[in-house]
Symmetry: C2
Subunit: 303 residues, 2 copies
């Protein structure tokens, strides 16, 4: 029997709260308030990032980095960078020319709270800033590591990652995609950034190949499971729980896992993926249990 | 008497043509045609970059790098990266929510030739790709150099560069800026990327501080001169010559050098800046004459 949706365990919730608090402080420090004439840009950047997100990607960076003893202060910079890229993509995806979403995390989307021009620029600026944060020596003392992080994040953000995935998503409103194309789209749209988050911890910690590969494999399965449950929540969830307009994808005629496979097979697929994701972490012999718990949480979350 | 507008000298024109040809080949190789479902994204990226631009920024990278004997094949990657950032900013600036321009370089703007969503994503993807290009070891063998280029380019593109400048530009449609704010806006909107182009040559060549500073000073004066002449061309030029809708800034109520200073003082200012720009290059004892010629050309160009 499938487990019913539930909250995170108290231990996982504590750890998630720690990450949220830490990364929010780092983000706020990297995005100071401004009294210059261009202040609305900074306000929109803060609005689009400091908005109560669950910080899944920062969590994955912090937990992966902790496996290799990486200093948390430093890992938090990489966590902030990946969240900048995630938030930039949400700001642009919500624009009228894209998904035309009014709500994000239960509040007006950035282009609604400000205007479209400011939202476009805030997204652009967050994307650029992510790379500036990564190449600062405070992020890692070794420039090889910093370069590798930039290459990985740029790849995850670019035409073969977020941008290509969002392009497919828009094309998918008018085309029927097969399961292979939907999987590829979701890998680009969600999976690659989640993979970046997990792999970044290994890169920051100069982990060996087997450990690094284990985290990437975990992330690939987790990312797909995350997207499948997102599609299920889009059908099932209420706007009050998800903070988004629900049923939106179906209405827009988008090809999703649920529309293609049906809801029950989609849920079974997500469960299989989560089991697989957790198995990859056995190499860490019990030291990665928080990441395993997170995989369970992704499956069982309500929003 | 002010020199009348003219074309580049045959020698400068030859060198400019070489740069255009070389960098266009590099851009085309970095942006291959695609037969995937997301092909429109790649088409829009190619459309927005391979569109007959003069390649001023790549020219500055190549000429600055040549001063220090940097391999042209490698410098061309940095030249392509800066042009990706420039073209991304043009694609986004032309959007209806921003400057709402229909024409760019005499052809329909990217959002007109494709659609707004594709144009937004093509811009985003070009920005991300620029950083992926820079951190590849083909760009430079030293990861310190690659990191420094990323830091500089991200800074020039982010809230303190292009994005902040464009934010000011939009705010300036409804506010009266003083000359100090206009100068700061143009420094962010145009100057910083031109400075990046010149400084990148010095960074690639591991130049000494005085040489590097000379190139930055040259670039700062050149960038401002470029913008002042742009404002003059906006008032004087025809769409046939500039490839843009002329008189657009004045109609939009934008604060420009011309609207604030008047046309003749603006031209005198540009001439002074170009003379100053050229003087900074005396340190190279005649080896930087092509860069000096480029400064004259910026002043005297018709488009």
């Amino acid at each position: 029997m499938a487990p019913s949706p539930r909250d995170a365990s108290p231990a996982l919730q504590d750890r998630m709260n720690d990450v949220v608090e830490g990364v929010n402080k780092t983000i706020a420090r990297l995005l100071p308030e401004s009294d210059l004439a261009e202040a609305p840009l900074y306000e929109a950047m803060r609005y689009g990032t400091l908005n109560g997100g669950k910080r899944l990607r920062p969590f994955l960076v912090m937990e992966s980095a902790a496996l290799f003893g990486v200093d948390a202060m430093r890992a938090r910079r990489t966590a902030a960078a990946v969240e900048f890229v995630h938030c930039y993509s949400l700001i642009h995806d919500d624009l009228p020319a894209m998904d035309d979403a009014q709500l994000r995390r239960g509040k007006p989307a950035t282009h609604v709270a400000f205007d479209q021009a400011t939202a476009i620029l805030a997204g652009d600026a967050l994307l650029a800033l992510a790379f500036e944060v990564l190449t600062d020596s405070d992020t890692h003392e070794d420039p090889r590591v910093r370069c590798e992080l930039v290459t990985m994040l740029a790849h995850a953000a670019g035409p073969q990652g977020l941008c290509g995935g969002q392009m497919l998503d828009i094309i998918g409103e008018k085309a029927d995609f097969d399961l292979g194309t939907i999987s590829r789209m979701q890998r680009m749209k969600t999976g690659k950034l989640i993979s970046f988050a997990c792999e970044a911890g290994a890169v920051l910690g100069k982990a060996g190949d087997p450990q690094r590969r284990a985290l990437v494999n975990y992330a690939n399965d987790l990312g797909l499971a995350f997207q499948v449950t997102d599609d299920i929540l889009d059908v099932e969830g209420s706007a009050a729980e998800t903070g988004k307009d629900s049923g939106k994808d179906g209405k827009a005629g988008k090809s999703t896992f649920v529309s293609t496979m049906g809801k029950d097979p989609a849920r079974a697929r997500a469960e299989m993926l989560v089991a697989q994701a957790k198995a990859h972490l056995n190499i860490f012999q019990g030291r990665a249990d928080t990441l395993k718990e997170m995989a369970d949480y992704v499956l069982q979350r309500r929003a």
